[in-house]
Symmetry: C2
Subunit: 431 residues, 2 copies
């Protein structure tokens, strides 16, 4: 029987989930896989508050150095999140030849290169299934199931909070604030929900997926990110009339010699599978050269789904211990960025536009003229309502346009006296 000693740093929601899953499943896993996962430390600044699970007092500690320096610890689980001091803890664990399991998407997205370099140098593994898509085995599927494939594009709904908000707005017809409050009441959104709503959480995750799919370093700062806070209920309704859903998508795709990475609210045809992904669920769509289209759907967050992914990582690493000829995955993220990341200015997409314009003769012609000058051609127009001397909504779908041309046109348009409010522009993907 192989015994693997584990030190857990971070006894929050997910940490407590890991303790629960290990408690319930250690014996089964021993029987099924011949490996005993032994939790030797549970470390947190606060070890007195109850987490709804009984833990042997002897393994509770506030002293992180004890965990990082104990020569018997094989694997350190880092679940404190954020950049500091998580980064320092992980680097020290690596230096002390410990394997690491983490769910820390921000750290891997922003400092992954440094961490994977250190891991490769010290011949240890970094596993991070729980960092993207909760229980969904997306990292494993990309690394192993699709190993023979080159991914062409990958996109999906990878933030449960914002998907919950958009789903509620769409299904219940409530506004953004009401939906957010409900998400907070149900524990789906943090008190400070900014990282979820402003798209940064999705950006961290798509950065990690991009590294895996394209074996490239990703300069996180260059990812284009837009949140959902400007999506209005009326846009959701107009999109619905046009046969679309609005979803916060994270997108990475090859496009000619370059690749695009972006996060933004997106109109998606209702018949697309991702349009049926509601509530806090996550789903990731992958297109690759041999396997074609694939979609993985599941619980993107939550205590037990995330803990389930952490424990699957523990077993993976446990299996590598004493198997010196195993493939190492910690050389990922160390390759040169051969393919250039396309600036958002040069990205071409279709667009949904909503103008708040005066209901006067000639308005549409003025809008069309300015768009036309920027090489933007209109696919369809609907005017919603007629109210003299007041602004009405003009909803327009445009053909593929270069981002910078559209911005130039909108800057001009929004200065016209006939345009009463900032024009809403949401990208459209055909999927």
């Amino acid at each position: 029987m192989k015994i693997v000693n584990i030190g857990l740093i971070g006894f929050g929601t997910i940490g407590a989930g890991v303790v629960k899953v290990l408690k319930k499943k250690t014996t089964t896993l021993q029987k099924k896989r011949g490996i005993k996962l032994q939790l030797k430390y549970v470390c947190d600044q606060d070890i007195s508050t109850s987490r709804g699970i009984s833990v042997d007092k002897k393994i509770l500690t506030t002293d992180v150095e004890k965990v990082l320096n104990d020569p018997n610890i094989d694997i350190v689980i880092e679940l404190i999140g954020g950049i500091h001091p998580a980064k320092e803890f992980i680097l020290k664990a690596i230096k002390n030849k410990k394997h690491v399991v983490t769910a820390n998407k921000a750290l891997l997205a922003e400092h992954g290169g440094e961490i994977f370099d250190a891991a490769a140098k010290n011949n240890v593994e970094i596993y991070f299934e729980a960092s993207v898509g909760g229980a969904i085995p997306i990292i494993k599927s990309l690394r192993e199931g699709l190993v023979a494939n080159q991914v062409q594009n990958i996109f999906g709904i990878i933030n449960g909070t914002s998907n919950y908000i958009l789903s509620q707005m769409s299904l219940k017809g409530c506004d953004f604030k009401t939906a957010l409050r409900e998400a907070q009441d149900r524990g789906y959104a943090e008190k400070d929900p900014r990282l979820d709503i402003n798209g940064m959480d999705s950006a961290h995750k798509i950065a990690i997926l991009t590294k895996l799919c394209f074996s490239k370093k990703v300069d996180f700062k260059n990812i284009y990110v837009e949140g959902i806070d400007e999506v209005g209920l009326q846009d959701i309704k107009y999109a619905d009339d046009l046969g679309y859903c609005i979803k916060l998508l994270a997108i990475a795709k090859k496009s000619g010699d370059e690749f695009e990475i972006r996060v933004h609210p997106t109109l998606l045809p209702k018949k697309h599978l991702l349009s049926s992904v509601n509530g806090v669920f996550n789903a990731i769509f992958i297109n690759s050269d041999f396997a074609g289209d694939m979609l993985l759907y599941g619980q993107g967050a939550g205590q037990l789904p995330t803990a389930s992914a952490v424990v699957s990582d523990l077993l993976e690493i446990a299996n590598k211990i004493d198997n010196p000829n195993s493939i190492s995955f910690s050389n990922m993220d160390r390759e040169v960025p051969l393919r250039k990341m396309r600036s958002i200015d040069n990205v071409e997409t279709r667009y949904y536009l909503r103008f708040s314009a005066l209901d006067e003769p000639g308005v549409l012609s003025k809008i069309a003229q300015i768009l036309g000058k920027q090489n933007i051609s209109i696919y369809s127009v609907i005017q919603k309502g007629r109210r003299q001397a007041q602004a009405v909504s003009i909803v327009m779908m445009i053909h593929e346009a270069k981002e910078k041309n559209l911005r130039r046109a909108l800057a001009q348009l929004d200065k016209l006296p006939i345009i009463k409010r900032k024009t809403i522009a949401i990208r459209v993907e055909r999927g």
Copy 2:
């Protein structure tokens, strides 16, 4: 650089796909994973017909013994399908200490026990990702991603041909024969499409999934199987009116102390994700204790998707070679069947019923009376059309009923003079 020698038996569509994928990706895989997959033999009875790919003549052979007995061969890929002689080839490969990769669902479903016993005794691995769901990494996800979970139920669309036929009937309004002919014209159905249409192919696959999810031996003969050949266009239309799709589902679930395994056409609410799975695509829905609901969707068949799964298995096994302390998966299917398989007689489901009855006063009351005597209660009734002295359709949704009670009721009903044709009964799952 680790070099792994491979012998391929079966140079049909999938075999040629494996050759193509290896040809295109060997160098990349070498670079990415440090393993060289070397194809040493391609064996088939016919090695002269072109497969659209050039193969070094020196590796082509008609002599299967050469492949099975060559001490340098590490992995044998079996892609001839069917029970014999595939079984004999695989057992001989195992006896000669070779690992095996196979896509042979019939063999694993019907004789898996014998094969896994032999593999465990000889300390070699059997991998079979390509046997279920083509490119979808379902086997890996159940074994590894969900390793900490107990699956409660798993069900899905795992036969592309029948899903294509049902999708065409539903989307185009054509009848079964027309849809089948189209599937054959497009190469989605074999000339002899019986195994696909009669549900046996799905039964083979759900038997394999059941073994993985419940670690149990499955007596294949006891799986209840119904095909799609009796699904009429009008039933698809009536189901649509009621808010349902009809899909051929393979289902395995825990139910009290027993478990149910069955394959049959099923009414599924349109809002269920599986209802959006159209054409030749496959999708598998899994519910487990920690990870909750999950769905994996992708190409369930086809040359390159299936080959992509075979190559991922090759790399998995290649990684185990020279790592004597790796977890072996070949002890699966060797446990005792602790949980009893429920006889279809005792399964309880909701039902869609379509009676062809005379349009006479009192007909509904007679039907309701006979159902009532069997403890079957009606949820809703719609009578379609009124035609005196001719049979009309009475469409009924009933609450959960025990299968044997329903059969007893239908046997009585179908003998009544007011019932003009055999009553159509299709199970309903809420998902």
